[in-house]
Amino acid sequence: MMPINLLLKLYKLFHGITIMPRTPAFSKLEHEFLLKAISTGVRLDQRDMLEYRKIGISFGIDYGCCTVEIGETKVMAQVAAEMDRPRESRPSEGRLNVHVEMSTIAFPSFDPTKPGELGVGIQRMLERSIILSRAVDLEALCVRVGEKSWTIHLHVHVLSHDGNLIDCASIAAITALKHFRYPDVSVIGQDIVIHTMEEKHPIPLTVHHMPLYVSLAFFKGCERLAIDPTYLEEKVMDGKIILSINKHKELCSLQMNGQMNITKEQILRCTEIAAVRAKTLTELILNAIKTDTDDKKLGKTKSQTVLEKSKDNKEILKSELTVNSQTSEEIQIANMSINEDAVTDDAIKNGHNNKTEKPYWLTQHDRQTCSIGDGKVNAWSGDGAESSLGIFKALRADTQPEEKSEDENEDSEEEVVILDDSALET
């Protein structure tokens, strides 16, 4: 037998010389070509700009095991339940933990020992979308207040990475949660009995709504928008908007990555696209779960993959969007709307405010400051309304006398306003 010390030494030796796997080199040729192609509306997989890749959902033998593929991207989610104590701060609620595992099989640069920036990002986003939007009823998981409750573990395994991991992960996560069942529990006096699956039917989790992430990537100075970016597209994009939305058009989370300068209209348009997408996805998920339960009843152990045809989703998206709003060409509004802004700015400066109708919820304070809502008392700096008024006054005082130095002040002013707005909202 080999002494353990020697084994450890050998292990270290081999570990020392192991070269971390590299990501494949990305050439300028590819970079330039991708951007050029996208600016003419062509994608490498010949998809439409608003077309999803083919989605497949399949299930494992056990409850709560789901694998989702979007093109070459593949994510598996597995849900497990464990009897635990509830949190001290929330004694009447169970817990839901999200764990993300990135394997080297999925992508050479992924490190299975630590999730890395991308992995942590996915974990946080899933937590935000599922837990913070209260998609799963955690109170139902409590068995005895302050003593016993179920802890649900959601393990998300990335199996293959070809861009748009978060969409894939969120579909897998929600589907797995919806598919999962945990054992029934009886409380008899002081005893808690966990029934086996044979004794009593297991209980499904209460999923109030299904928030799904939809990523939209922007290219070429935010002039071009593409849904469901691939790995290569993610490399050349300016940034992306990732929206978590459910079929009732309720926005659960919104994140913007990268360096983008996009307008309000573009964001609204993105939410519209995401809402349509979430609706069709929800139908697909429910259909997949139904097919699986039917199959399991018949005694089939191997799950069939429920596919969505990419052509269908494109047409649905197009038809619904044209009904809802303007034409689909209207995505490239970046330049146009910037000009519009300039026009409104000038109009306000010259006192012709009648030209542009302000939304009713917007209160305009002066040319560059406005607030959302009626403007409650500002609690930002402790002094209440006085201080906020003070800021506005200071701003007006700054801008009015010397018009020439306005441009320099603009940045700092806008920052102040943003802080102020958020304070007003809360």
Binding site: R22, P24, A25, F26, S27, K28, L29, E30, H31, E32, F33, K36, A37, T40, V42, R43, L44, D45, Q46
Partner: protein
Amino acid sequence: MTGNLLDGKIVVPGDVFSAADENFKLVNKIKLGPGLTTNQAQKIIVCKSGTLRYKSPDTLWVDCHQQRYIPSKGENVIGVITSRQGDFYKVDIGASDQAVLNCMSFEGASKRNRPNVSNGDVVFGQLIVANKDVEPELSCIDPSSGKANGMGILSGDGILFTISLNLGRKLLSPDCVLLPELGSHVSFEIIIGLNGKVALFCKSAQQSVCIMNLIKATEYMSNTDIMKALNKQFF
């Protein structure tokens, strides 16, 4: 009896056949290609799964689907420059190790007149050193003529993509009808490295993408299937 019987046979790693089999009675020595090894007992052992190929009179090898490139001397490959170390550039050619490229091994390069190369550039070159113990070395000068012969930095409105090694070899083989047939319909420039990297230069992005996807789709097609697919595409 000849080795013809073995041609096209599906083999998996661990399959053993003897050189003394009736197949090779007429031949004294057998040349073993990729995927085959031998031991002291004069047995031929398969170490890759694929189809066994035989070439008269004495060569055997295994054809298989493979993505990882194993450098071999004299092969033309396409790589991407990743970094620079002194007089050498590191080039990613899809092998387990990065290849080195001396900045003198460009046509017309001298100590004073260095080529204008930066990270991310795509380079087409020939492997002049390919040994399992040292890193492979690339050169952009044809050793026979001392000229570039089309090798060097690739620039223009092209696309670079990766295909499997066997598809690359298939496209380059004179038997394959795809490229000549495609060339009679559209004009394009294509450079295929034996490491499975392909640089494609076309008039428009739309065309490039179409041709790229067509090439990728022909992975498992026979010549007749390719003709059918092309006819569908163009007529």
